[in-house]
C-alpha cells in the first residue's frame, strides 16, 4: 500500500499534463474573437486577434497557449483556440457591401471557406468547446444544431455562451429554451458582463486532457 502510494506520487511527479484545448466555435459575427480576446486579456494581458463588423474577419485558427484561468480560488490551464466562423454559404458579393474591392472580396471568401474546413477539422482535437451564440438572434440555425450534434456524438463537453447580453434585443432565455440540455452562460464579451460566471463554468465543465 505504502509502496503503491509512493509509486503513484513518483509517476505523477514526472507525468506531463496536457493543457485543455478550449475551442471557441459558432457562426460568424457572434463575438467569438471578442470573447477570445476577453479571456486572453484577463489572464495574459494580451489579445488574440482582430475583430470586425465584416463577417469572416477570423479566417485562420488563432491560438493562445498556456492561459491560466482562475476563478473562486480554482485554476485551469488551457490552450485557447479561436475558430473561424462556421457557415454553409460564403458569397464574396456580401463583402462588397462593406466597401471591399472585388479582388480582395474574392480572396477573403476563398480564405473564409478554407477557415471553415480548418475549424471543422479541429473538432477532432479540442477537449472542450464554448459554443458562442448571439442572444439577439434566433439560435435554432442548422449550423448550431449540426455543431452541437457533432460535439455530442464525439462526447466533447460544451458550454453555450449567450453573448451580447448587453444589447436591448438580447434574449439569452431563448438559447436556454432551444438547447436545454447544455449549460448556458449569458455574457457580454465586449463589456465583460457576467464573465466570471463563464470562467466558473469552464473550470467546472472542462474535460481534463492527457
Amino acid at each position: 500500500m505504502v509502496f503503491n502510494g509512493f509509486f503513484n506520487w513518483f509517476v505523477n511527479l514526472f507525468r506531463v499534463r496536457k493543457d485543455i484545448r478550449l475551442g471557441i466555435y459558432g457562426c460568424t459575427n457572434v463575438g467569438k474573437t471578442t470573447l477570445a480576446n476577453r479571456i486572453a486579456k484577463d489572464f495574459t494581458g494580451e489579445e488574440i486577434g482582430r475583430t470586425s463588423k465584416i463577417p469572416h474577419e477570423t479566417r485562420f485558427v488563432q491560438k493562445k497557449e498556456k492561459v491560466l484561468i482562475k476563478s473562486n480560488g480554482k485554476k485551469l490551464s488551457i490552450n485557447l483556440l479561436d475558430m473561424p466562423g462556421l457557415e454553409t454559404k460564403i458569397d464574396y458579393r456580401k463583402f462588397l457591401k462593406f466597401g471591399i474591392k472585388k479582388k480582395a472580396a474574392k480572396q477573403r471568401a476563398r480564405e473564409a471557406t478554407q477557415g471553415v474546413v480548418e475549424a471543422i477539422k479541429w473538432l477532432n482535437h479540442v477537449d472542450t468547446v464554448l459554443a458562442v451564440m448571439d442572444s439577439t438572434k434566433d439560435p435554432l440555425t442548422q449550423v448550431n444544431i449540426t455543431l452541437l450534434g457533432n460535439l455530442e456524438a464525439k462526447g466533447i463537453p460544451v458550454i453555450l455562451v449567450a453573448n451580447k447580453m448587453d444589447l436591448k434585443k438580447a434574449n439569452p432565455e431563448h438559447i436556454k429554451e432551444a438547447f436545454p440540455q447544455y449549460p448556458t452562460v449569458p455574457i457580454s464579451a465586449l463589456k465583460g458582463q457576467n464573465i466570471d460566471e463563464l470562467y466558473k463554468a469552464i473550470i467546472k465543465h472542462a474535460r481534463k486532457a492527457g
Binding site: T88, D91, V116, L123, T146
Partner: protein, 143 residues
Amino acid sequence: MIKKNRYKKIKMDFISATMLNGKSGKKKINFILSKVKDGSILVVDGVLKPEEEIDLIKETMRRVDDGFPGIEVCSLKKQAKGWQQFFDVLSDRSEKVQDIIWRGITGKPINKGLKTGLTLIGPAKIIKDVKKNPDSFSVLAEV
C-alpha cells in the same frame, strides 16, 4: 401574340432515404452536392447523421466558387417521447458500440442509414431564408 412566361423555374427533387442509404458517406455527399450545384432543391425523407452534416458543410466549402456560394440546409428530426425516446437513446448507444466494433474490424464507419425525419438542402443562391422551429420550418426561395 404569345405572352412570355415571366416566372422562372425552381427544380425540386424528392429523394427517398432508401436511395441515399444505398450510398456510402462520400458518395452520399457527392450525390447531394452535384444535385444542389445544378440548382435543385432536395427534399429527403430522412435526416443525415451529425458527422454527415458536418462533412456536407466541409465539402460544400471546398466547392464554393463565384457561381456557387454554398447551400442552405434544414432538417426536422422525429421527436420521440416517453418510452420511444428511451428506446431511441438505447438504440443510439448500441449503434455507437456497433460502430466502434465495426471500425475496429474494417477500419471504416458502419453504414446505418438515415434517421427518421425530413431534410431540405438547396443552393444558397436560391434559398434566401430558412426559419426553423422545433417542429417545423419555412423556406423563402427567390429565383
